[in-house]
């Protein structure tokens, strides 16, 4: 049986990101949410030299730089909240799926901010996500 190469990459993503939730919980069992955040950044920084785009970095448009940096800033603040949720007793099996419902916010905001329209299917997605949030928090 031939399996496409992208599939193995996708499986690697699932394993890596799936395990992240477990390590977040394990880390906050021993240290504070703030310390976990610092070590997370240390882990990220180890990769920085390998992904440094070189001189191309100085040719990025101002918008791409601002939005790229801003998305990192907001995601890190979000990660802090996530670690705090786990630190204060949240289960990995609840906090991770709950926080992964963030596209709900994107779908709700995008018509106003990016003037995108929401399809009927996405509307069903929003409804499912809201029901999921309610059930997961019970």
């Amino acid at each position: 049986m031939h399996v496409a190469p992208w599939f193995w990459f996708a499986v690697a993503v699932l394993i890596a990101w799936g395990a992240v939730g477990i390590f977040q919980k394990l880390s906050t069992n021993y240290i504070s949410a703030e310390s976990t955040l610092v070590w997370l950044m240390a882990g990220f920084l180890l990769f920085e030299p390998f992904i440094y785009p070189g001189k191309a970095l100085f040719h990025y448009s101002r918008h791409s730089v601002v939005y790229g940096v801003l998305s990192g800033l907001l995601s890190t603040l979000g990660a802090w909240g996530l670690f705090a949720a786990m630190r204060y007793g949240g289960k990995a099996s609840i906090v991770t799926p709950f926080s992964a419902l963030y596209p709900l916010i994107v779908v709700v905001l995008s018509p106003f901010v990016l003037h995108e329209s929401v399809t009927l299917l996405q509307g069903v997605g929003v409804l499912c996500a809201l029901i999921a949030v309610y059930l997961l928090s019970t």
Partner: protein, 107 residues
């Protein structure tokens, strides 16, 4: 990869602010540090694999849908390794979440 580089730069001020807030005194639990580092390394490795999937000729919507199911992997691992237990309504909630992930990742 450029965006991933900028993304990390954006996160740095938060980590520095946290360090200052804690007066540069972090807990010295080796396990906590090791697990925290694993969070960073695995998150970044997952991102690279994600880009790898795109660059190896996969269909973007299929890749996003499949990888969007990573919280379900966490749930299975949490039950198996951390022995977490879920209530019946939480299991139902996970089902709704899975449907929502799939719909959202279809774009």
């Amino acid at each position: 990869m450029g965006m991933q580089f900028l993304f990390t730069i954006g996160g740095l001020p938060v980590a520095i602010a946290v360090l200052i807030g804690k007066k540069f005194k972090l807990e010295k639990s080796p396990r906590g540090i090791l697990y925290g580092l694993a969070v960073g390394l695995l998150s970044a490795a997952g991102s690279f694999a994600f880009f790898g999937a795109y660059h190896s000729g996969g269909n973007a919507s299929v890749i996003t849908t499949v990888t969007g199911l990573y919280p379900m992997v966490t749930v299975v691992l949490a039950v198996l390794t951390l022995h977490e237990r879920l209530t019946r309504s939480q299991i139902l909630g996970l089902g709704f979440a899975a449907v929502a992930f799939i719909i959202f990742s279809l774009g």
